[in-house]
Each structure stands twice: as C-alpha cells, then as structure tokens.
C-alpha cells in the first residue's frame, strides 16, 4: 500500500463530475427506501426485494464497475499512469492500493447506503440491514478487484464489465443455473443468507452456492485479481501518439 498512490487515485476517482455520478445511484436507493417505508410501512418482503433486487443486484455491480475501472482505466488511457510506473515502486503495491481505494469508494457509495436503506425499511428487524450491508460490501470488493483487473487488461473494460454484470449474472444466470456458481452476486448472497440464519428461508433469500464455496471463491477472486493486475502492470505497454 502506498499513501501517495491512494491519494492520487482517490482525487481522480472522486474529482469533478464523477462524484456526482457516484452519488446518483445510492440516492435513488435511499429515496426508494424512504418512499416505500412512508407509503407501505414496514414490510420485510419488500426490504428483501429492494435490497436484493436493486442494491446488491444493480447498485453494487455498477458502483464496483465505476470504481474498479475508474481507479486505473483513465490513467492507462491517457498515459498519466507513467508517473506512477516510472517510480521505484512495486507494481503489486500500486495494484493493491488502487483496489483498496476502489473498495473504499464502493463501501461509501454502495455498502453504507444499502445498510442505511435496510434500516430505513426494516429497522433492526431480522438483522436484514446488516446482512445486506455486509453482502453489498463483500460483493463490492469482489467487483472492484475484478473490474480493476479488467481495466488493466483491456481498454473496453466498462463494456466487458457491463456484459458480465448484466448478461452473465442476470440473464444467463436465470436460464442456466450452473452459471450462477460463477457469480460474485451469488457468492455475496451466500454470506447474506448465512447472516440471516433461520430467517432466510421464510424471507425467500437464496443463493446458488453454499458458504463453504463462496468464501474461498471470493478470496481467490480478490487476491488473484489484485495479484494479476500488479503482474500485468509490470509489463504494461504505454501507447504513444506516434
């Protein structure tokens, strides 16, 4: 980890209009939560629907995509990453730092709003807010690491990332059950489900994989993606105008 890399990454990630973009989605979630609570009262089924269907399924992957690719993609595109790479710094520490910043952004703009929305909708009932908040944080960590690696590997990281989140996790997953075993969202739901304990079944919270598979898979994803991103940074080719 390197504090200077973290500061520069955070400044460019949160600078200018991008921060507004990051705020829009969680704002929608919170507005929906307040509206549901005011209009419909407390309804744990609705909480599961909104947190599982919107927060974990849409908000978290999108924020993970914005933060993960945004933490390194623009620098690679415009060539300014040369100022980090032309330094006696371990490439792995650059990658680790950038993943950490992306995770912090996802936490602030997706996991914390999910937790807040849970409290607004259901209070402390059934630990729903905490279970989904933790699920969102864990899913967000996985997405941030994965999408940061994608941004190192390809200039089309945002498109590839969207295809993964929308096509693979949502569409293919709903037709081909096996595909769900390779889904960050399902791994995170396994953790949410286990935090809910006995209340998971009546609330219809399910996950395609068990906790025993989800945790190792998440660890492999986060550590592996970060390590490989660092390794690829060692040989990153910088394009020039020529």
């Amino acid at each position: 980890m390197n504090a200077t890399v973290a500061r520069l990454t955070a400044r460019s990630l949160l600078g200018r209009r991008r921060a507004l973009l990051l705020l829009a989605l969680p704002a929608v979630l919170l507005v929906l939560a307040v509206a549901s609570r005011v209009l419909g009262g407390q309804d744990d089924g609705l909480t599961v629907g909104l947190l599982g269907g919107f927060a974990v399924a849409t908000l978290v992957p999108l924020l993970g995509l914005i933060a993960g690719t945004g933490a390194i993609g623009p620098e690679i595109d415009d060539g300014s990453i040369v100022y980090l790479l032309a330094k006696p710094l371990s490439r792995f520490s650059i990658a680790t730092t950038k993943v950490a910043v992306a995770v912090a952004v996802v936490m602030a703009f997706a996991a914390v709003p999910t937790l807040l929305a849970g409290f607004i909708l259901s209070g402390t009932s059934d630990r729903l807010a905490v279970a989904y908040g933790v699920g969102a944080l864990i899913a967000g960590t996985g997405y941030a690491a994965l999408f940061l690696l994608l941004a190192v590997l390809t200039r089309h990281a945002v498109v590839v990332g969207l295809l993964y989140a929308l096509i693979w996790e949502s569409l293919v997953g709903s037709f081909v059950p096996g595909a769900q075993a390779l889904s960050v969202q399902q791994w995170a739901l396994a953790i949410t489900k286990s935090l809910l304990g006995d209340r998971a079944a009546p609330l219809n919270v399910t996950s395609a994989v068990g906790l025993g598979a989800a945790i190792p898979l998440l660890l492999v994803l986060v550590v592996g993606s970060t390590w490989y991103a660092g390794w690829r940074l060692r040989t990153l080719r910088l394009t020039s105008d020529e």
Partner: protein, 324 residues
C-alpha cells in the same frame, strides 16, 4: 555519470518493425534523437525508459537491464510526450506526490527545488488543468527532475512550445548536460537538435541512420545529391547548358502535366512560356550548382521562372542517409 547502451535492439509490433537492429551508446551530455515522425524514436525512448520490452537485443543502464526493473527509476527521469497528468491537483501537489513516490527523504525540499529549476514557483498553486502547454511541459520536467536523476529521457519536449519556452528549455537541457547528466531528447527538427545536442543519433524508418556531431550530420545531409525542378522560357536549351556543367549529374525534360518522373521528351515542346514543361535536375555538388545556375541562364539569355528544390522533406533527406 551514467551510460545507456542499446545492443542490437529491435522491436516489432505484429508484422510491423518499429525499431530495426539499433546499437547505440548514450553517454553524459546532451544527445539528440533525430528523425521524421514514425521513425521509431518514441518506441526507442519507451525501451530506454523500461516501458517496452525489446523484441530482441538489450537495453542497459550502466550494465543493469532496464526492462522490468523498477529500481532503475531511481536513476532515470522520464518526460513523456503525452500531456496527460493528474490534472485535478495543483502543480505543487503533483510534483510533491512524485517526490513522495520516489520515497525521498525530504520530499517538500525536493519538490521546491525541482519547481524552482523549471521556474514554475509562481504558478505552482494552480490546478494543472489551468496550465498552458508550456507550463505543463515544465511541470512534467519538474517531476522528472525531482529525484535528481543522472539520466533524463525526453520524448519530443519541444512540441507545441512557443519560441521563448523553447529557448528556456534548451538552456535548461544544456545546463543539465553540462552538469554531467545523460540527457536524451527526441525531435524531428534538425535546427532544434543541433542547437543543443553535443551528439546526434539519426533514426529513419526504424533504423539507426547516422550518428555524430551536428557538423557531421549536417554535412551528410548537404552533400547528398539534390533535386531541383526548374522552369524557364527555354527549358531545352537550359537542359543542354546544365548537363555540360560538372556540378550537375542528370537532367530530365518533363511535361508539366506528366506524372512526376515520367520521361516525356518530345511530348512537351520547348520554348513555350505557358509552363507546360519543366526540368528535373540532379545536382551532385549542391553548392556549385546553385552558384553556376544563374550565370548559365544569363550567358544563354534564358529567363528562369522557377527554381524549386524538389525533395527537401525531412523524410527524403533522412532516407538518403539510410540508403547510403
């Protein structure tokens, strides 16, 4: 004192050879890397800076391999061609961040010194996004100098600078060279290079075309055969007179509308003043020919309408060096 050595370095991208079997040694002082656009200068600088692996051959700094060697950046300062920086921060913050990334003992002092060297202390508090091109160039320079490296690599540093900024940067580079640093910069303008570079390496089409002091390089360029296109009121008579001169090695009479280089004798009639014919002259001795041409014209009572050097693009000047 540091020496960069390129030994039989080639680099290809797919089927395209960008750098072809280049061997050169860059020592202390200012070296200019001269060549037209697309000659492989940037590729070469990227390899010297450790941002591109040579497809074959080696790049070393004092015997140490540059590629995949992060430690090398303690001794190399790099000024990239591209302008992008972390422009949401101020000049001061950015140079300071670079000093911290180098893990210098006193980053503030180092950043202050670097900004003073490039004379950017007045504007250091402003966001980089508000800087002019010349100011950005100087901040880039400051980031490369912040750790006081013995080697400085600059990719097209004069691009887009106004004459005053250009002069200032030239003085700065010269001072660094005089201090014993190894300074290498690329350019496609001979005048730029010869003003400050003690030695010049010429690249053409990926190949190392020539190497030496600016006098040698200039001589090579001047002593090549020169081509002229000449129009007069009596091209045929002028052709006869020119070929009798030892300074000319070839004359071709062409129709003005014929494709360049096509022989067109007999097609174009001589003596017409409507510009329908022209002479292509190859001068073996450029200085001699230029001196003798007006005398010839006057002696034969021929009026010259146009004398144009046919082939003065940098590309063709350099190509000649490769073809030698």
């Amino acid at each position: 004192m540091a020496t960069l050595v390129l030994d039989k370095v080639s680099r290809w991208f797919g089927n395209v050879v960008a750098v072809n079997d280049v061997t050169m040694t860059i020592g202390p002082g200012v070296t200019g890397l001269l060549g037209p656009n697309g000659a492989g200068k940037s590729t070469l600088i990227h390899m010297m800076g450790g941002f591109l692996a040579p497809s074959s051959g080696t790049v070393t700094l004092d015997g140490e391999t540059v590629w995949r060697n992060e430690g090398i950046y303690r001794r190399i300062g790099l000024v990239p061609e591209r302008e992008a920086m972390y422009d949401v921060v101020t000049g001061w913050e950015f140079v300071l961040a670079n000093a911290r990334l180098h893990r210098l003992d006193e980053p503030e002092a180092a950043a202050r010194r670097a900004l003073e060297t490039v004379e950017m202390t007045d504007a250091q508090g402003r966001d980089i996004s508000t800087y002019s091109k010349g100011m950005k160039q100087r901040v880039k320079m400051a980031t490369a100098l912040v750790h006081d490296p013995p080697v400085l690599l600059l990719d097209e540093p004069f691009n887009g600078m106004d004459p005053r900024q250009r002069l200032q940067l030239m003085r700065m580079l010269q001072a660094m060279g005089d201090e014993g640093r190894t300074v290498l910069f690329s350019s496609h303008i001979l005048e730029e290079v010869e003003q400050i570079a003690g030695s010049i390496e010429v690249m053409v089409a990926g190949r190392h075309a020539a190497s030496g002091g600016f006098r040698e390089i200039r001589r090579l360029m001047i002593e090549r055969p020169h081509q002229y296109t000449i129009r007069s009121d009596n091209d045929r008579a002028l052709a006869a007179a020119i070929i009798a001169e030892p300074s000319a090695s070839g004359v071709q009479l062409v129709a003005a509308h014929a494709t360049e280089g096509t022989m067109a004798q007999g097609v174009a009639s001589t003596g017409r003043r409507d510009g329908s014919s022209a002479l292509h002259v190859q001068a073996a001795d450029f200085a001699g020919f230029v001196r003798v041409l007006p005398q010839l014209a006057s002696r034969h009572n021929i009026r010259l309408y146009e004398v144009t050097p046919a082939d003065e693009s940098l590309e063709s000047v350099f190509s000649y060096l490769v073809a030698r």
